[in-house]
Symmetry: C2
Subunit: 203 residues, 2 copies
């Protein structure tokens, strides 16, 4: 356990009101870090955006870096929750894959600073950036492995598939949500799903 | 044509010796920007790494930003050349896809600063970053469209496939070359190629 983990653990608010303030600070941190970048962002920018005093800030976070770390952890939870919600009720695994990718791009569309925050995390602390992706990949690979065991997917390596589909999703989010400010066009999603379902070797 | 394009065009060296000095400056810029990041990097760091005087530097580049822009353009050419060399002699398109991905990861392995430089380019000038990926994708999609026309690939959207495979390559390079300092393990490449060739729908 690092010093920061400990601080985050200690500073986790116990009350609903505390949790609401923490969420307001995290939303403000998302705007501040996302708009200015890590180095130009400041605690006073976050507190001003959140409409709380600096004294309140330090009840929740020890430093600028502590808020950034908490924000990356929160993005990770948010992405996974959004994708889990997006795929709920999918009739089969390939449909779930489509709904998951669509849900990911929609989440990026709704959180336009997400890419900048995650990309910057590697310069703040490479371990933070690695863990973000490795946690996502591990959870996703477990789902794919389970689906493969149940015959919902053809046999194949779940970990490699998880990273491959994350890579596909990475550029869908970048091209459409970040660059063009739109969700994924249906024709593009059809083509992605054809590739994922059937590959591209001559048939 | 922007002001910077003009400067780069004017300052292109005419002699072989001039080209050798420019290449030495670009290699030094790769080390300087890659190790320190754009903001901490300096012209004096580049000239000191290259072993040339600042007067010489300004014969080639107008500013720190001009060298960075030239470096991103050079990385783009380098990645494409490395991949073209990697796939030359491939007996069929799916084998070429494998050799291309392997060649990309090898290039990243040999240029460990490449990811940092490309990721930082979006903060220096987002157009630079977009053009890097859009140029790569356009060239790659043209190759895939041609192969599809010739029946070497199953019918499918070449542009979507190009971005999808670039996404797969992006995380292969990150996981293995950048994080672990190795080339792609053969078993992982086998699993990627199975996904690309056959997809993962139940068969």
């Amino acid at each position: 356990m690092t010093r920061n983990d400990k601080v985050v653990a200690i500073k986790k608010p116990a009350t609903k009101r505390g949790e609401a303030t923490r969420r307001r600070l995290l939303a403000a941190a998302e705007a501040e870090f996302g708009q200015k970048g890590y180095h130009a962002a400041s605690v006073s920018g976050i507190t001003s955006e959140a409409g709380v005093g600096q004294g309140t800030y330090y009840l929740y976070f020890d430093s600028k870096e502590a808020a950034f770390r908490a924000l990356v952890a929160d993005v990770s939870v948010g992405v996974r929750r959004a994708m889990a919600e997006a795929v709920s009720g999918a009739p089969d695994r390939m449909t779930a894959e489509r709904m998951g990718l669509e849900g990911f791009v929609r989440y990026v569309f709704e959180h336009p600073h997400l890419y900048r925050i995650i990309q910057e995390s590697q310069f703040v602390d490479e371990a933070l950036f690695k863990c973000y992706y490795r946690d996502l990949a591990a959870g996703y690979a477990a789902v794919l492995a389970q689906a493969t065991d149940c015959g919902e997917l053809a046999p194949g390596d779940a970990e490699t598939r998880a990273w491959a589909i994350m890579g596909i999703g990475h550029f869908l989010g970048l091209r459409f949500a970040v660059w063009d400010g739109i969700e994924t066009p249906a024709a593009v999603m059809d083509a992605v799903m054809d590739l994922l379902a059937n590959g591209m070797a001559p048939r």
